[in-house]
Amino acid sequence: MKMDSNKTLDDILGLASTHFKVPRERLTPDDDFFKTLGIDSLQALDLLTKLENHFRVELPDYELQGVTDFRTLAERIQARL
């Protein structure tokens, strides 16, 4: 069964919070995750790997191209679920 898009977004925020040790309440869907998490492009790819494992879906690197906020990232993932 396809996951609800709000749940996808919520899971992403939770995983980002755990992985990069940023309090969950500080993260909002429209945050620029590079800035909020203080990460570079390689660390963003690392996040993508964590999301793949969680959602059990393969996400090519290009799915991150041009994406800077959690909401768009969730949309990209949702489209592949």
């Binding site: 620029d32 590079f34 800035k35 570079d40 492009s41 390689l42 790819l45 690392d46 993508l48 790997t49 090519p60 690197d61 290009y62 191209q65 041009g66 800077t68 906020d69």
Partner: protein, 568 residues
């Protein structure tokens, strides 16, 4: 390797290579830990010639242009060879640009053919301005039922029958490579076959490839460095290129081991990531093991003080080298500032990091470290055939680097004015500031030109970033590289700044700040402005109302310092 003096163009040299080493592996393509493709030179030829024939049947003639927009993969090189076989001019475009930016460069370069990866075409074909594109479009890896919006499927675009090989003269254009210009003035560097053949000869004189060498290609192939050391160089030496279709650090590390990589060109961001990984591993060692490791590193430092001895280092620090596959000769870096401490860290482990300096306008590289001895504080010595001068040196000997070499581009496409300002009496004015030390090594000390280079090796020009701010509710605005306004003798920590001139009685409000932040986010992180300044005077302008950037930068530099910048 082939004697490149015998060939008049890249197509001829590559054709000879395909015939010379038919059974050697030339390409391996892997996606994560899965190997997707492995081709010999003979297989490569079999894949490229039917494409060349189909291009010719579609009236792609010698001298016409074909753009490539693809991530690093075998089809990039196969397509490029097919284009050269037809006598075409290649336009390698940056797949990391936005679809709109890519269309702007296509509009400027006017290629007859565009070869593009499906996910990029999907984004581009949705833009209204894509309707103006007149190129024949070949799309790779499209899903079977995908709507290709009138494009052809690359995999089906092939014809039987021997294509005709079209040779080119040495001074004919081989490639048009954009060094900037997606928002401002397009800078399409027209590089000739001679530029590439001479560059390849010079690089391989210092760092030869040979059959059995495996080069890991993860820098974009559209970039000058990978095009040379991840395509032309290995091919004319019978070596093998390994494409990895992900930049995820865990798979990059695994690829070194799995494919026993000999050379890899990496941007500082990735080299630093490898350094972090190694340091973390070292930190986990027991005190005894750490003590032993440090002693071996100390011994290696002593042994390699005068020059690199990779074989010996490999024996001494076998476990570290096993983590790189055990065949690594060197890492190549360039195109962006690299911290000397990182280079030294790897050199001390017996993994030389070859630092160099170059710019698209000069082919690939002008200088390179020859490791005799290793120097982390310079960008090396001029390559064979390259003459460098320091123009108007100051009291410390620092001035603009000018280059004279057979590798310097012919001209900027359709811009004689910019060409005349950039190549003066046969000397390329690089816009970079440097000086030579007593050993003939070039050291760089900042830029004279208004641009920054990121850790990821991207050249960012303020004019190309400005269009995200079109319509910003202020009187006028302009973007600068901070180091252009306040010259710095350092290449680290570069940033772009947004200069705002508000309307009379306009206040700088939180809403305006939010608007700036929102617009800034239109760009990927590496392209964003890092801070802003509210300037109290009208911008100086020409009669045609263009901002006099140099004058504005000079006025600002005199009136205020860097502390006036508010970080975004």
């Amino acid at each position: 390797m082939l004697d490149l003096d015998k060939y008049s163009c890249l197509g001829e040299a590559l054709k000879a290579a395909l015939d010379r080493w038919p059974n050697e592996t030339c390409l391996i393509e892997a996606d994560r830990d899965r190997e997707k493709t492995r081709l010999t030179y003979s297989d490569f030829k079999e894949m490229a010639l039917p494409l060349a024939r189909a291009l010719q049947d579609a009236e792609f003639d010698p001298g016409q242009r074909a753009a490539i927009l693809m991530t690093n993969q075998s089809k990039w090189l196969i397509s490029a060879y097919a284009v050269f076989y037809c006598g075409g001019v290649l336009v390698p475009l940056d797949y990391k640009l936005t679809a709109s930016e890519q269309l702007q460069l296509l509009k400027h370069s006017k290629p007859q053919v565009l070869i593009i990866e499906y996910y990029l075409w999907r984004a581009m074909s949705q833009l209204p301005e894509c309707k103006e594109l007149t190129s024949r479009v070949l799309v790779t890896e499209a899903p079977l039922k995908a709507d290709l919006a009138g494009a052809h499927r690359w995999e089906d675009f092939r014809r039987r029958g021997e294509p005709q090989f079209h040779s080119r003269r040495r001074d004919d254009a081989a490639c048009i490579v954009y060094s900037s210009g997606t928002g401002g003035r397009p800078k399409g560097c027209v590089l000739t076959h001679e530029n590439y053949l001479e560059q390849c000869k010079a690089l391989t004189a210092w760092y030869p490839f040979w059959p059995g060498v495996r080069y890991l290609s993860i820098l974009p192939t559209n970039h000058a460095i990978d095009f040379m050391v991840g395509f032309i160089g290995p091919f004319v030496c019978g070596a093998c290129v390994v494409h990895l279709r992900t930049l995820r650090p865990e798979f990059v590390r695994d690829a070194f081991v799995k494919y026993k990589i000999t050379y890899a060109a990496l941007v500082p961001l990735i080299v630093k990531n490898l350094e972090r990984g190694l340091r973390a591993k070292f930190a986990e060692l027991s005190p005894v093991k750490r003590f032993v490791l440090d002693r071996f590193i100390g011994l290696n430092k002593m042994l390699t003080k005068k020059n690199a001895k990779v074989e010996r280092s490999r024996k001494l620090l076998s476990q570290v080298h096993a983590g790189f596959g055990g065949e690594l000769q060197a890492l190549i870096t360039g195109g962006a500032f690299m911290e000397p401490s990182t280079m030294q860290f790897f050199y001390d482990l017996g993994v030389p990091v070859i630092n160099g300096y170059g710019l698209t306008e000069a082919g690939t590289a002008l200088t390179l470290n020859d490791l005799k001895p290793f120097r982390a504080d310079t960008v090396g010595k001029p390559l064979p055939g390259v003459e460098l001068r320091i123009l108007n040196p100051d009291a410390e000997g620092i001035g603009e680097v000018a280059a004279h070499s057979k590798t310097v581009m012919s001209h900027y496409l359709d811009d004689p004015e910019l060409t005349a300002a950039t190549i003066v009496d046969g000397w390329l004015l690089t816009g970079d500031l440097g000086k030579f030390d007593v050993d003939g090594h070039l050291q760089l000390f900042g830029r004279k030109k208004n641009m920054i280079v990121t850790e990821g090796g991207k050249n960012i020009y303020p004019e190309d970033v400005e269009n995200a701010f079109d319509g910003l509710p202020v009187k006028e605005y302009c973007i600068f590289a901070a180091n252009y306004v306040w010259p710095s003798k350092s290449l680290g920590k570069e940033m772009l700044i947004l200069v705002l001139r508000l309307e009379e009685k306009q206040e700088f409000t939180d809403a305006l700040k939010e608007e700036i932040i929102g617009r800034n986010r239109k760009w990927p992180d590496f392209k964003r402005v890092g801070g802003y300044i509210v300037w109290e005077k009208d911008f100086p302008r020409t009669a045609s109302m263009k901002i006099k950037r140099d004058d504005l930068a000079r006025d600002m530099g005199k009136a205020i310092d860097r502390t006036a910048v508010t970080t975004l």
